[in-house]
Symmetry: C2
Subunit: 204 residues, 2 copies
Amino acid sequence: MTGSRWSAGAAPGRRRGPELERAILDAALEQLSTVGWNALTMEGVAAGARTGKAALYRRWPSKADLVAEVLRAGLPPLGEVPDQGAVRDDLFRLCVRMRDVMHSQAGEALRAVLHECDHAHADRFRAVIWNGVHEPAHHLIRALLRRGIERGDVRPDAVDPLVVDVIPAMLMYRSKVCGSEWKDQEIGDMIDRVMVPMVRADAA
Amino acid sequence: MTGSRWSAGAAPGRRRGPELERAILDAALEQLSTVGWNALTMEGVAAGARTGKAALYRRWPSKADLVAEVLRAGLPPLGEVPDQGAVRDDLFRLCVRMRDVMHSQAGEALRAVLHECDHAHADRFRAVIWNGVHEPAHHLIRALLRRGIERGDVRPDAVDPLVVDVIPAMLMYRSKVCGSEWKDQEIGDMIDRVMVPMVRADAA
């Protein structure tokens, strides 16, 4: 990952602003993914980014601030879901994407941190999942259901906060309680057996 | 709670077996509900039960063993759900019951302990929720859906592990993520807008 950064002539000391910040965040994510939350140190991250501790503390007053930023910046965006002509396919695509975000390097680091950190920090890091995954997912699910209503394959009253919660609730429940990895097949089954019967237009 | 136990002539030293065990579990639940997991001590529980520490250690080698037993024994059973003639009413009754179990003294203590204890203990105490609430709830939901299929208001293929998970998933998700207390009204909305459309027989 660090290969191209140290090209001839670009001495580490010359990096500034966004470039240095990127290097620090990369190094911190790398540390988080290898040694974990408890063993991560500002010194270690500074060494990994080939800078000094002062460059870190200037930006983030504490390790928790740095890690929250690493996780926030590192989570891939959910993105958009193109219209595939059927609510079944749209919701499937969205769920696969949610799973992939949670299985990204930052997503895995986030789950590992939550398993390792104390409760005071956990609330802060959970907010990263909320803001980076759940909130955008809710927004997308509402949009996909509205698209389905216009298309005609979703019942007109399906855009409901409780209905919108079912996908994130199922993803969280089975991950936490059953340790599910949510393979494509299981996601497809969930869409076909839970979501489609619940939202389809041809129901009474 | 301890009023009737110390009736004249029944000296504390005379209690044995189940009676002493019950007094210890009562005292431990009381401590757990007032001082919490970290501050609970075997000494404190022994004092509360007017017995010696040895009586505790003879039964439970550690504080965690005692607390796991307190929580397990203290959770009210889910019980049965009488046939109310409609799957909507049966599922509503079940959800209200699940909420009430989680809001019982042992249920509240369990959630507080989970919020306070470290991860090593959390897995053990989560198993108490699994075995005491979720597992029996799954069993009941399957039975209520089968009853609905026989009655004719539930689609024939609704008894599906993913469908069965929706109620516990929603209860957990909104409690954890949104801090929902699941008032009767919200439970009714969830049954009407999520469960009934998903399982009803008149859907295509």
